[in-house]
Amino acid sequence: MFSPAKWLLLSLLGVTTLSMATELDTLLVRFSQENQLSKKTIDENRGHLVLFTRERLENMHARTLDDVFKTIPVIYYHQNRYGLSDPLTSGAFEPYRSDKIRLYIDGVEITQGWIGSGVMLYGDMDINFVDHIEFYYATPSLDTTVEPAYLSIFLYSKDASRDSGTQMRLGVGTRGYNHQTLQYATQEKGRSYMINFSHTYNPQEKIDNGEDSPLSRDFERVQLFAYTKGESDSFHLQLLEKNMDTLGGLSYDATPIDSEARYRNLHLDYLFEPTSHWKGQLVYERLESRVSESDDHGLIYLSRYGEGNVSGTLKTSTLSGELTYAKLYGQHHISMGLKGRQKRLDALPSYGESEPSVTFTKEGTLSLFFQDQYSFTSNSLLSLGMEYSLVSRNGGFDNSNLWQMRLGYIQTQGEWSYKSYLYHTMFSVSPLSLYVSDSTEVCEPQHTIGFTQEIRYTQEDYWVRGMLLWMQDKNTHLNYTTNEKETSYFFLISDGAYQLSPEMSLTMQFYYARYNNIFELDSLDDYSGFLTLSHHLEDNVKLYEGLIWHQNSIDHQNYFDATLALSWELSDVCCVTLKGENLFDNAKETQFVRVNPETGEMLEPLSISNSDRRVTVEVEYQF
């Protein structure tokens, strides 16, 4: 068995096997890279961008969003005790913590109503329909109305002009894992059409909780993504159904008798640009969560309602409308907009014998923003943005007035570029957190200030970058379990990429973070890094190696998540891929708190990895 150190050494030795490239080969690589970076959506001016181009996603053999998310520093991918994607989870009993991570598909936010973040269901979605992914720290520039965020994730779908025709992908793997995707895209008379269907069945490793029945987080997911796009309008339809075992669920000591859920999500949106300066969108989203939970010692949050079981369907819906205007006035690029959004709780499940009286059923948000991006010299840009939001709630909860302010400066000089941003952000509490809390104090918004800087050096065949981010939260929503109202963070990120030859590329990253007053800790140091290498062994055989390392100051244990993928193009239309994930079975783990429900004593926490060790074989056809 390879150790992580040997793996790293072999990866680096592989770099020495460079092939001879002609001028034409190099030109084709440059053409691919430049044309991927020239896409309208990829805008370095928006903030600190971590970009996954189509080629990078293909090189990584990334099939689901968590394959990519697990390499994103500051906020890595995690699942919570309910088996849901929740990167900010503390492992305690909070219902959902990642409402400050925002997810957008083709520029439209996926909200998932009461939860507040599309990451919950879409955090591990199939990304076969995706062309490229942009991660921005904090809130990116306000060229469209965006919700305040620690991290904003933008996924953009494939374009029918480059991916026309039919694509089919079939995969099988360890423990009976299997997935199937089918995609068709075409262009007719200036309009593009795409439909992408996928099905995934993912039986995962069982987790020993000391009982006869171990914990399970198996799931089956069906996903449909479709669009039609013209010159000045687009329409999207997304359907997602996920049937899953919910790990520890609502059991205090993670020994549930029953713990299952079925989620159904419908998303519809229509975007239109009546003129080159005006843009509008209408979005409807509905989420049905059918839950079935029981435990003989009562359930978390629901003990006040009596019996230790819950069964039924929670229904929430969101309706949003937005209108924005953008125009260039001299050297000022002015944009402004208005957005209205209403989230509704349409139905609640019953709790044992009792029916809770529900008065809080609606939350409305009205937002206005203004932004000026002033290019005062040919290589300097100053950006000023402000947004005001009024959040109103029924059921006797207070309204919130939220302000966002953002000041940015960008300077470029030859191969060097420098960015700096100053943020003041106010976060509203998610409706779900308000709903499960007994306290009215949690209605208070969180204030976050941030100061971030980035310096980057780019050459034709490589780039390197350093980022320093500092943030402070007042009245923080992160610390549910302590009275600590203030947290602060400092992050150092250094990353880069090197195109060693037309057939070989390398990416690397190092990350250090210092957190003060986070969760139950006075301070926490967090370290991580990754190294990936992608190269062609032959014209039609490609190898990918990736190694992610994590360590933190709680136990200073090293975690290594290794991925190896070998793909073989049998012909122009058929490709076979063999992929191994978490090969050392030593990927980063999350600690889940457990409490003895009878005595209130803390039990030994459960330590669970976010990804299992798995080997998959996949066949792909394009015709």
Partner: protein
Amino acid sequence: MKKYLLSLLLGFSSLYGLESQTTLRLYESLFHAFVHKPTPLVYVTSGEYEKIFKQSKGLHLTEDLTQADIVLVTDESMFLALLPLLKKFQKKPIVFGTQRKFLQLSPLFIGTLYWKKGRVQLRFLSERLKRANIVLPEKFQRYILEK
């Protein structure tokens, strides 16, 4: 990086717009390998390519199909509209495409430059190059398929 600042103020024409500098360099390199003239005449109906080729000193655009040395086909309907005319020509222009399926669509295509999994692919068919009397330089050899 400078282009990011400019792009912000000027905007892009389309979501998946082509980057003009490397696109021009690549097509100039290809078309000069097909035709041994200082400025080959190119016929194209795509507004996006037209805008890019207008910046070229090594390629000239023509609206007259009979004068064209090279026809760049970017969509199927455009090619099907031109096909009856092309069939009538004694001296046929070189037909090159931007989608993989074009090689199956008509034997007039000598090759294509298309996207696959985020990377551009260049393909020529050996028999069609011979038929069009085109001998490509050595650096093109790995992109020529026998069938």
